[in-house]
């Protein structure tokens, strides 16, 4: 899976055209509320076959951070056990 594919998935979950998603855009600006953000992160894992835990998201603030995290996460395995 490459960077563009992850970006396209994120854009489709956010119901936004991929071209409008910039790496520096804050996730909180895109999600309508914190529950929407939880929903997006969980759906993204189902779509991409990766698994994240809360600790992994600690420093994820922007679209670029989330793309990098998904690219680094192991498929079907818990990424971090901390």
């Amino acid at each position: 899976m490459d960077r563009d594919a992850v970006k396209i998935k994120i854009a489709s979950l956010l119901r936004q055209p991929p071209a409008t998603l910039r790496d520096e855009t804050a996730l909180t600006d895109l999600a309508t509320d914190s529950f929407a953000l939880v929903e997006i992160v969980i759906e993204l894992q189902e779509e991409l076959g990766v698994r994240l835990v809360q600790e992994d998201l600690k420093d994820v603030k922007s679209v670029g951070d989330l793309i990098r995290l998904c690219l680094n996460a192991g498929h079907g395995q818990v990424f971090s056990k901390t």
Binding site: E39, V53, V78, K81
Partner: protein, 194 residues
């Protein structure tokens, strides 16, 4: 007739049930069909019904629900952080539902609680017990994927967050319950004394 504190509390319960229903409804919509999605569907349907029970209860007592901006769940996400996967969502749900049952039981213990409120509390508490049970079983099935140790660690972390939420951000809720408990015990005492 409801006093200001009672109306606020019942409206707070109603708002929290609406938030829970919307959250689990959205989550169920995004999940693949299976046993967890099935039980989550029942869970969000229950929470929607509970919101209706509170609406109806408030109306029967001659009032209209207050529009509150915050629910229990909003405060949880601030203190406990955002759950990042389904196991973490279920772990935080387990802790949260236990807290809700405790709070409803506490409200039930207020002396002379109106029978309409008591009936509503009893109906909802029966469903909440099932919520704890299905989530406990679902977490058990996730042990193969996540490991028992990680699930226990996650529950412990959210349990600690729950205590923080309760001691810090649930202050208004706590003060209003305490006010009702004190008020009722003072009125009982004065009845006894003459």
């Amino acid at each position: 007739m409801l006093n200001e504190n009672e109306l606020w509390l019942l409206s707070f319960y109603r708002t929290s049930e609406i938030s829970g229903s919307l959250f689990f409804g959205r989550l169920a919509r995004s999940m693949k069909p299976g046993p967890i999605q099935r039980d989550m569907t029942k869970h969000f349907a229950d929470e929607a019904l509970h919101a209706w029970y509170w609406t109806s209860c408030i109306e029967k007592l001659g009032a209209q629900p207050l529009k509150l901006t915050e629910a229990y769940q909003d405060q949880y996400l601030v203190a406990a952080g955002m759950p990042a996967n389904l196991m973490e969502v279920l772990a935080i749900t387990q802790i949260f539902e236990k807290r809700v049952i405790n709070e409803y039981a506490r409200h039930s213990r207020i002396p002379d609680v109106d029978p309409v409120v008591r009936e509503t509390l009893d109906k909802i508490t029966a469903d909440e017990r099932w919520h704890i049970e299905w989530v406990r079983k679902a977490l058990g099935t996730m042990e193969a994927d996540y490991g028992k140790e990680l699930i226990e660690k996650t529950l412990k972390r959210f349990w600690q967050a729950d205590r923080q939420v309760y001691s810090k951000t649930m202050k208004e809720h706590e003060e209003r319950v305490q006010y009702l408990l004190n008020k009722r015990s003072i009125s009982k005492e004065s009845q006894k004394n003459g």
